[in-house]
Subunit: 384 residues, 2 copies
C-alpha cells in the first residue's frame, strides 16, 4: 500500500493489531542491555502485569518468537514422541496443532469439523472414551480463520470429565479479547503472541502452565524452547537467551493501558465491539460466517455471492488504508475478516466498517450506504 498523504495505514487484520502510541515510542528505548538490574526489574514487571490475563499458578513465561513458537514449546515440553494426542481442527489454526503433533511423532487423532462451527462436545466425549490413553488435547480458544470462539470452559469440562488428558489451549488470537482464567477453567497450558490482544508488534509469545502441566514435562530433546530452563531464570528476571528487548519495552505501556480496564473490562470491551460489528454486517445484508460462538476478537463476514473478495480487500487498502484479512484456503475471496483485536477503540471499529461499506458499495453490493455504521453505533450506544 502506498502511503498517500491523506490515507493512514490502519490494521483491521487479526494481528498484527494497532499499536498504542506509547508502546511504539517505548521501542525507541534501544540502549538496553538485558543483563542489568534495570532490565530485570522491567521484565519482572511485565510478567507481573501479564499474570492476570492467565490467572495461572505462576506468571507466564515470555519467549522471543511468534505464537507458533509457543505452540511448539507447548507440544514439545508436554508430550513425548508416540504419545496419543487429540487435536480439534475446525480451521487453519486447528490444522496447525495437528501438523505440529505429527511433525513431533505423536500418535495424532484429528477431530475435524466444518469451518465456521465449533466442536461437538458429545463427539469429544466419545473420542476420549474410545481412546482412554489420550495424553493431551490441543485446541484453539479462537479459530482465527473462521471467527469462531470455541466454548473453552465447556470443552475443558468435557475433557476433564472423560479423561486425564492435559488441556492445551492456543489463545493466540483469543486472549485479552476473551477472559480465559486458568484458575477457573482447567487449562494446563495457555499461550498467546504479542501482536494480538496485547496490541504490540510481533516477536514475543507468552505461555503459562498449570501445576499439573509443570508436573508433566516431557523427556524430549529441546533447547531454545526449554520451558523448565526459562522458568528457572525468569523468576529472577533473566531469560535463557537474549530477549527481544525493544518489544518488552513496548509491552509495558500496553499492559498499563489494558490494566486500567482489567481483564473483565477488556473482555466486555471486545464483546461490545464484536456485537456492534455483527450488527453492522447484518445491516449491510451480509451473513456471519460463524454459525454460533462468534469471536470477540474478529468477525468473519460472508461476501455477496459472486463478489471477488481480493478485489474488495485491495480497493479498501488502497483507497482507505484499511488492512482487512480475507479468507484462507477454500474461503479465499469468499469472506472478509474484520478484527477488533488489540488496543482498538470504538471509532477504530466504525472507521473499519465505513471503509468496508464503501468498498462493498463500490463493488456493486446493494444496500443503504451507512446502514452498517448506524447499526454499529446503535449497538455501541445500547451497550452503554
Amino acid at each position: 500500500m502506498e502511503n498517500y498523504a491523506f490515507v493512514k495505514d490502519r490494521l483491521y487484520c487479526p494481528g498484527p493489531t494497532p499499536v498504542p502510541h506509547a508502546s511504539a515510542v517505548a521501542a525507541l528505548q534501544t540502549s538496553v542491555y538485558h543483563r542489568t538490574d534495570l532490565f530485570r526489574e522491567k521484565f519482572l514487571y511485565a510478567r507481573k502485569m501479564l499474570h492476570p490475563y492467565f490467572k495461572s499458578p505462576e506468571a507466564p513465561l515470555i519467549l522471543s518468537c511468534s505464537g507458533t513458537g509457543a505452540m511448539e514449546a507447548a507440544l514439545v515440553n508436554l508430550t513425548n514422541a508416540g504419545d496419543k494426542v487429540l487435536c480439534l481442527n475446525g480451521g487453519k489454526f486447528g490444522e496447525r496443532w495437528g501438523k505440529l503433533a505429527r511433525a513431533y511423532g505423536c500418535d495424532t487423532i484429528i477431530y475435524e469439523f466444518p469451518w465456521g462451527e465449533s466442536p461437538d462436545l458429545q463427539k469429544i466425549s466419545a473420542l476420549l472414551s474410545a481412546h482412554p490413553d489420550v495424553k493431551a488435547v490441543f485446541f484453539q480458544a479462537n479459530e482465527t480463520s473462521t471467527g469462531v470462539a470455541y466454548p473453552v470452559r465447556e470443552i475443558a469440562s468435557v475433557i476433564a470429565a472423560n479423561s486425564k488428558a492435559l488441556i492445551i489451549v492456543d489463545a493466540i488470537s483469543a486472549l485479552v479479547a476473551h477472559a480465559l482464567p486458568m484458575d477457573e477453567i482447567s487449562i494446563d497450558c495457555l499461550l498467546t503472541g504479542s501482536q494480538k490482544g496485547f496490541g504490540i508488534p510481533p516477536g514475543l509469545a507468552f505461555i503459562a502452565l498449570s501445576n499439573r502441566g509443570w508436573d508433566s514435562l516431557s523427556s524430549r530433546p529441546r533447547f531454545y524452547f526449554d520451558l523448565r530452563k526459562e522458568r528457572e531464570g525468569q523468576v529472577k528476571g533473566e531469560t535463557a537467551w537474549t530477549p527481544a528487548t525493544t518489544l518488552i519495552e513496548s509491552l509495558i505501556p500496553s499492559l498499563e493501558l489494558l490494566g486500567e480496564q482489567g481483564v473483565d473490562g477488556c473482555d466486555a470491551h471486545h464483546k461490545r465491539l464484536s456485537l456492534a460489528c455483527q450488527a453492522a454486517a447484518k445491516a449491510m445484508g451480509l451473513s456471519l460466517f460463524s454459525k454460533s460462538h462468534h469471536s470477540q476478537a474478529l468477525t468473519a463476514i460472508e461476501l455477496p455471492a459472486g463478489m471477488d473478495g481480493s478485489k474488495l480487500l485491495k480497493y479498501c487498502r488502497t483507497r482507505f488504508g484499511t488492512v482487512f484479512a480475507g479468507g484462507q484456503d477454500h474461503l479465499k475471496g469468499k469472506i472478509v475478516r474484520l478484527a477488533h483485536l488489540g488496543v482498538v477503540d470504538e471509532l477504530d471499529l466504525i472507521g473499519g466498517i465505513a471503509a468496508l461499506e464503501m468498498g462493498l458499495h463500490k463493488l456493486g453490493h446493494s444496500f443503504p450506504l451507512g446502514a452498517g455504521v448506524a447499526a454499529a453505533m446503535t449497538a455501541l450506544n445500547a451497550a452503554g
Copy 2:
C-alpha cells in the same frame, strides 16, 4: 542504571549494540501487515541487502528468534540423533554448541581448549582422523566470552582436508565485524543475530546454508525452525510464521548504512577500532585476555590483580552510562569486555575507553590518566 539528565546510556557490551537513529525510528512503523505486497517487497529487500555478508548461494533466511534459535535451527536441520559431531569449546559459547548437540542426542565429541586461546589446528586434524565418521563440526567464528576470533579460514581448511564433515559456524558476534565469505571459505552453515554486527535490537536471526548444507538436511522432527519450509516461502517474501515486523523495519536502514561501507569496509572499520582498543589497553598497563587472534568485535582486557571487576562495571555504568560486559564463569570480576561491534563510530570507542580509564583510576589502578585514549587516537590516526 538511573537515567541521569547528563548521562546517556551507551552500550559497549557485545550485543545488544548501539542502534542507529534511523533504525530506531523505523520501528515506529507498526501498522504493518506481513501478508501484503509492500511487506513482501521490504522483506525481499532486507534479504538481498544481507546477502553480501554471507556470500552464500542464496540470500540468508530471516528467523524471528535470538541467535540461539538459529544455532538450534542449524543443529536440528543438519544433524540426526546419534550423528557423531565435533564441537570446539574455548569459552561460554563453544560450550553452548556442546550443550545443544547433547540435548538433541548427537554423539558429541568436545574439543575443549583454554579460554583465551584459539583451537589447535593439529588437534582438530587428529580428532577428525581418529573419528572419520564425524558428520559435522560446530564452532564459533568469534568466542564472545574471551574476545578470541578463531581463524575460521584455517579451521575450515583443516576440516575439509581431513573429513567430509559439514562446517557450521556461529558468527553471532563475528559477522560484519569480520568478513566471512561462504563462497571462499567452505562454510556449510553461517548464522548470526540482529543485535550484534547489524546493530539493531534483538529478536531476529539470519542463517545461510551452502548447497552441500541444503543437500544434507536431516530427518529430525522440527516445526518453528524448519529451514526447508522457511526457504520455500522466503524466496517469495513470505515467512512461515508471523515475523517480527518492526525489527525488519529497523533492519533496513541499518543495512543501508552498512552497505555504504561494503563488507570489506565494515571489516576494515572494526579492525581499526579493535587495534585502537588494544593499544589503549596496553597504554593503561593492562594485558589483553586473548593471547592471539584478537577479535574485531570486542576486546577482552585483564583487570589489575585484586580489583573487583563488578565494582568497576557498576561505577562506569552509574557515573558514565557505559555498559561494558564483565567476565563469565571463572572470569567473573577478572576481565572487562569492551565491544566495538555494531554501528559504532570512532568517538563511541574513545568515549568507552575514557570511561574505562576514569573508572580504573577511581578504583586505584595507577597509570597516566588519558594514556588509553591517546593511544587509541594515535592508532586511529595512523590507520588513516
